[in-house]
Amino acid sequence: MLNKIIVAVQKSDFDLNAEMENLKLKTEKAGAVVFFVGKVRDLEDDNLKYLEIESFEELAKIQIKEICNDAANKWDLEYILVKHRFGRLKINDNIVLVITSSKHRKNAYEASEFIMEYLKSNVPFWKKEVADKTQKWVENS
C-alpha cells in the first residue's frame, strides 16, 4: 500500500519547484514524474475579472483521499500529491496541482488523468466566473 499520498485543500498557492524537490527526497525508485496544473483561463466572449472557487473543505479532502487511494490500488505508484485551491483567483493563477510518480511513465500518466477526471465532477468545489458583462456558476460540460 502506497503511503506517500499528500492531499491539501488550501487558499494559498503552491510552489512547483519546492514540490519537485520534496518529491525527490521520497521517490528514489521512481524515474517518472507527471505534473498536472490547472490554471484560471480567460473567457472566449467576455473578460474575466476573477474566478471564485467555493469548497466544502472537509468533504473535498475525504473525496480526494479516496480517489488517491483508488489510484494507488490501480497503478504501481511511488507518490501522489493533490493540492486544490479555493477562494478568489485571477487569470493565470494556479487552481489545482496533481503529481504522480512511478518507476516508468505509463503508470504516472494514466493515474494523473484518472485523478483529474474524478476531480472534475466528484469533489465538492464550485466555480463562479465573474466577468465584465456577466457572472455565472460554471457547469460541467
Partner: protein
Amino acid sequence: MGKVKLKYFSRIRETIGKTSELVEIKSTNIQDLIEELQAMGEQYSVLKGRDFAVYSAVDQNIVTDVKTSIEGATEIAFFPPMTGG
C-alpha cells in the same frame, strides 16, 4: 429526529441566503426533509432540483439515493453538481 446542522453551497447557498443553519427536523430521509423544509419559505424550493441536480451529503458522505436514512445525522449538506479541477 432532533436538531441538525444544514449546510448550503454555491447556487443553493445564494438562493437560500445562508451558509448553514441549525434546524429541528422530523424527517427521517432526504426526500422527506426537502419537503419539510418547504414550510420554512419559498427559497427552499431550490432543493427540489428543478433547475439543476441537487446533491446531498449526510455527515460528510455523499448520498445518491434520496430515500437514504438521515436518522442520527448531525450534519446534512446540499449542493449543486460539482465543478472542481
